[in-house]
């Protein structure tokens, strides 16, 4: 049975995913994660990671430059706000296109090499873009301060349609629905769901198969008569478009674009999200993005006071020691936790959380399943 071109299993996954996303406001509330800012970040970085996963998880090319496309998307969106309209739709369309164009240019050059050379090329490009945005192209990017809206923005389309925001710096609005708060989140959520659908179709398509072949054995693919270059470029451009889209959405929910988003260490964050969740899987990147943003939120909000009360059940000296040690990992020290988490995942669970779930499920099947002690279940790319 096929609906919208999805197999039954994939359809189920898609429906459940959409349901979870749309009701996340209520589902995540008990975990303190139900408020709009955080939910928006879940959706936006989920989109970013989904796209990155196509290049890294599916095709096997590690790029350190994708934060550049995120930044490009943000800048494009803000310029669209300033020049055309505060409506988010043209902004994200143009942001996506901008991400794709930049990715096409950078990918065309970088993909001439593979492996570590490719990674370093993307690294070089990313730093170049960052430096350009920070100090060279300041008329466009406004350098260190970041690009912001101004009352004097032309907003041609808005004016043409008779919308006047007066003397206020307006938030983005979709035909009257303001893009902050929960309505902003739902806009991002719809985009995320559409993106997820696209990714499922991509995974199951012949292109997806070719990309997995590239990752598995590019040499053999060449000798099978397939020129892998167009495929890898397509993967690069698609992931760049997703990144641009995510950057655009960041600006929609908060109309400010800064250069620090483009640093190569910001690219490292999306790599971590993808790996943490499970690279090469469908859900992994989104789960990883959600987990990272959630813990970033929780951990950086902790301080000694909270730690003290959390560990108050311990005897005093022990409590003191535990709090001192753990205080290194929270608040400002959130990055320390991130780095340590990075290392632990790469060392012990390179398949990420999805692999962890799979192992747990296999264990359960083996212990409790029919016949017990069966063989390894077949591989799947869920």
């Amino acid at each position: 049975m096929k609906i919208f071109g999805l197999k039954r299993k994939d359809l189920l996954l898609f429906v459940v995913f959409s349901a979870v996303v749309l009701t996340s406001r209520y589902l995540f509330a008990p975990f303190g994660a139900g408020y709009p800012d955080l939910l928006q970040k879940f959706a936006i970085y989920g989109i970013f990671a989904l796209g990155f996963n196509i290049l890294f998880g599916l095709t096997g090319y590690l790029s350190f430059g994708h934060a550049a496309f995120l930044g490009v998307g943000s800048y494009t969106a803000v310029w669209t706000f300033k020049l055309l309209s505060m409506n988010p739709v043209p902004a994200i369309i143009l942001a996506t296109l901008a991400g794709g164009v930049f990715a096409a240019a950078i990918g065309f050059v970088s993909l001439r090499r593979s492996g570590i050379y490719f990674s370093i090329l993307t690294l070089a490009f990313a730093q170049m873009c960052y430096n350009l945005a920070y100090s060279v192209l300041t008329p466009i990017t406004n350098g260190e301060t970041g690009l912001q809206l101004a009352q004097s923005d032309p907003r041609v389309l808005d004016v043409a349609f008779g919308r006047d925001y007066g003397a206020v710096l307006p938030p983005s609005d979709l035909f009257g629905i303001v893009m902050t708060g929960y309505s902003g989140f739902y806009f991002c959520a719809v985009v995320l769901i559409v993106c997820f659908y696209i990714v499922i179709r991509l995974f199951r398509s012949p292109i997806g198969l070719m990309l997995r072949a590239v990752k598995s054995n590019q040499n053999r693919l060449d000798y099978t008569g397939v020129n892998s270059r167009p495929y890898t470029l397509a993967a690069f451009v698609i992931s760049g478009m997703f990144a641009g889209l995510a950057g655009g959405l960041l600006a929609v929910t908060d109309p400010l674009a800064g250069a620090e988003r483009m640093q190569w260490t910001a690219s490292g964050e999306v790599v971590l999200m993808t790996i943490l969740g499970g690279s090469g899987t469908l859900l992994g990147p989104v789960i990883g993005a959600g987990a990272i943003k959630y813990f970033e939120n929780i951990f950086s909000a902790f301080n000694e006071g909270i730690l003290n009360s959390a560990f108050s059940f311990l005897p005093e000296t022990l409590q003191h020691i535990v709090v001192s040690v753990s205080s290194l990992f929270v608040g400002e020290g959130w990055h320390l936790t991130l780095g340590a988490l990075f290392m632990l995942i790469v060392i012990f669970l390179p398949g990420g959380l999805m692999e962890g779930f799979r192992r747990l499920r296999n264990l359960a099947v083996r212990l409790f399943g029919p016949g017990g002690g069966g063989s390894e279940p077949k591989p799947e790319t869920t």
Partner: protein, 251 residues
């Protein structure tokens, strides 16, 4: 009817003459073995056929087209398939997927941005792939992950991947290297069946048992020169060949 024509090929690496005025004519529909002691230049010669190396002089023409200086995928599109010394397959994918990929790869190499269709396990291509797997005896393992196969099975899979593209020429670089006796015999049987289909095969081999079971003609390479080329029986008795192989072959 000569399908692969190698003329005046010379190749030197620094001061070392690896290939010296090598001439070779491969007849269509035959199995042609290239043998020789270690260091004779067999792999170097093969690398010239597959775009890995450019000879210093000479031509390599396949079906009228030159094979020199073109990329691996162009070589494949010209009708030449190869297997590697260590079987090169897509280890992360299932056997079924492994064979579907060459089936998808079009002869003209055009890039199909078909991101929208689904890869159907039971469509025209999927069925063709299953059929091919059964032909080589791997039908029951169609959904297993290719990386887990034994070496012999990997070789069979690799051959299936080549065959599904209906190659005009199949290049085999020591196909039975590293195999135990049982695997070797299975591989020989499979190669015989391939030959019966009419595929032209060029086999580089060390194992004389393989060579004499299969070859229609044998070329003997020693120190970069072709010292003999003839039918298998005549090669056996050739004194030059015996000299070159001093202590090397099991005849």
């Amino acid at each position: 009817m000569s399908i692969l024509s190698v003329k005046n090929v010379n190749k030197s690496f620094g001061g070392l003459r690896a290939l010296n005025e090598v001439n070779l004519e491969i007849e269509a529909g035959t199995v042609h073995a290239i043998i020789g002691p270690n260091g004779a230049g067999k792999s170097t010669l093969l690398n010239c056929f597959v775009g890995r190396l450019d000879p210093d002089t000479g031509t390599v023409d396949f079906d009228g087209k030159s094979l020199l200086g073109i990329t691996p995928h162009e070589i494949n599109q010209a009708g030449v398939s190869r297997v590697f010394q260590t079987p090169e397959i897509f280890g992360d994918l299932t056997l079924h997927e492994n064979v579907m990929i060459p089936a998808f790869a079009r002869r003209d190499g055009s890039f199909a941005l078909n991101a929208w269709r689904r890869v159907k396990p039971r469509g025209p291509i999927g069925d063709k792939a299953i059929q091919m797997l059964e032909d080589v005896g791997l039908g029951e393992k169609a959904n297993d992950v290719a990386g887990q196969l034994s070496r012999g099975d990997k070789r069979r899979l690799e051959l299936a991947m080549c065959l599904i593209q209906d190659p005009k020429l199949l290049l085999l670089d020591e196909p039975t290297a590293g195999m135990a006796r049982a695997d070797t015999n299975n591989t020989i049987d499979l190669m015989k069946r391939i030959a019966e289909r009419g595929v032209t095969m060029v086999v580089i081999e060390h194992d004389m048992h393989v060579v004499f079971s299969l070859a229609d003609r044998i070329s003997v390479l020693a120190q970069g020169t072709v010292i003999a080329e003839d039918e298998p029986e005549k090669i056996k008795g050739n004194p030059k060949v015996q000299d070159a192989y001093l202590g090397g072959a099991h005849l």
